[in-house]
């Protein structure tokens, strides 16, 4: 029997998620924004894995979900960085507040 309650894991995940969200919304550097998003995904993964052990119906499924999430996250990072490189080539900057093409 584990002595660490599930709420402790969930709280850790919540704190990490909040940190990642703050970084994603305030940081100027696109690389840091991307990595903050990875942190948020990680927090989600902690939840999945925690529920696979302590959930209503604990099973291995949660871990499998976490694996899929990691795979998708990896793909996302690859594409995100590729986009960053492409934008950098055109705009010579990586500051997210100078990307305002959405306005037009």
């Amino acid at each position: 029997m584990s002595t660490v309650p599930i709420s402790a894991y969930l709280t850790l995940a919540l704190v990490l998620f909040c940190i990642g969200l703050y970084g994603a919304l305030t940081k100027r550097n696109t690389v840091i924004v991307l990595i903050s998003i990875e942190l948020m995904l990680n927090a989600g993964n902690i939840n999945l894995v925690a529920f696979s052990k302590f959930g209503m119906m604990p099973s291995i499924d949660g871990q499998v979900f976490a694996l899929f999430a990691i795979a998708v996250a990896a793909a996302e990072v690859a594409v995100g960085l590729a986009i960053l490189i492409a934008i950098y080539r055109n705009r010579k900057t990586v500051n997210v507040d100078e990307f305002d093409a959405l306005k037009h």
Binding site: A8, Y22, L39, K53, A75
Partner: protein, 171 residues
């Protein structure tokens, strides 16, 4: 105060400190390195949750691949690190406050969550269990994941590739 709890506290502390440092450091490379601590301690948390395979994957993908990729991204672009963000102080405070409220509400929802059941057999042949699940129950999502990875691979190459025509135009 069991040893298990102590270890959890330690890992959690490292993870959170890593995140906070990521927010407060000024150099981009330092930020990425600070986050590596977080990722590794999260892997530790996975081990505590009887998910050894996920823990290994976490270290391989996050601490290894993704971090390295980020570092490459940083290397390939120029960073004037000293420039302070232009985003207004008011906006930062606003975001901070709303995140605080958001987190508080969720904390109120989860702080005394207690499920009676607990899986006890997850750590036995963990990798085998995952493998069985993937190749039987989740075989279709698994195959779809491979397609996603392929698309991401091709997409990343096409996006990052230098456009020869454009180059010719520039010269």
């Amino acid at each position: 105060m069991s040893g298990e709890f102590l270890i959890f506290m330690l890992l959690a502390l490292i993870a959170i400190v890593g995140g906070v440092m990521m927010l407060n450091l000024t150099k981009v490379v330092h930020m990425v390195v600070a986050l590596v601590f977080t990722f590794i301690s999260v892997a530790g948390v996975y081990v505590m949750l009887s998910a050894e395979f996920i823990a290994v994957v976490q270290i391989l993908i996050y601490s290894g691949a993704i971090t390295i990729m980020m570092l490459f991204g940083i290397m390939l672009t120029r960073h004037n690190d000293n420039s302070e963000p232009k985003a207004g102080r008011i906006r930062k405070i606003l975001i901070f406050l709303s995140i605080l409220g958001f987190g508080l509400v969720f904390y109120l929802g989860i702080y005394n969550v207690e499920f009676t059941q607990e899986a006890t057999t997850l750590h036995e042949n963990n990798t085998e269990q995952i493998g069985l699940a993937i190749y039987s129950k989740y075989v279709i999502p698994f195959e779809l994941t491979s397609v996603i990875l392929l698309v991401a691979l091709i997409g990343a190459i096409i996006l990052a590739k230098r456009d020869d025509l454009e180059e010719a135009d520039k010269e």
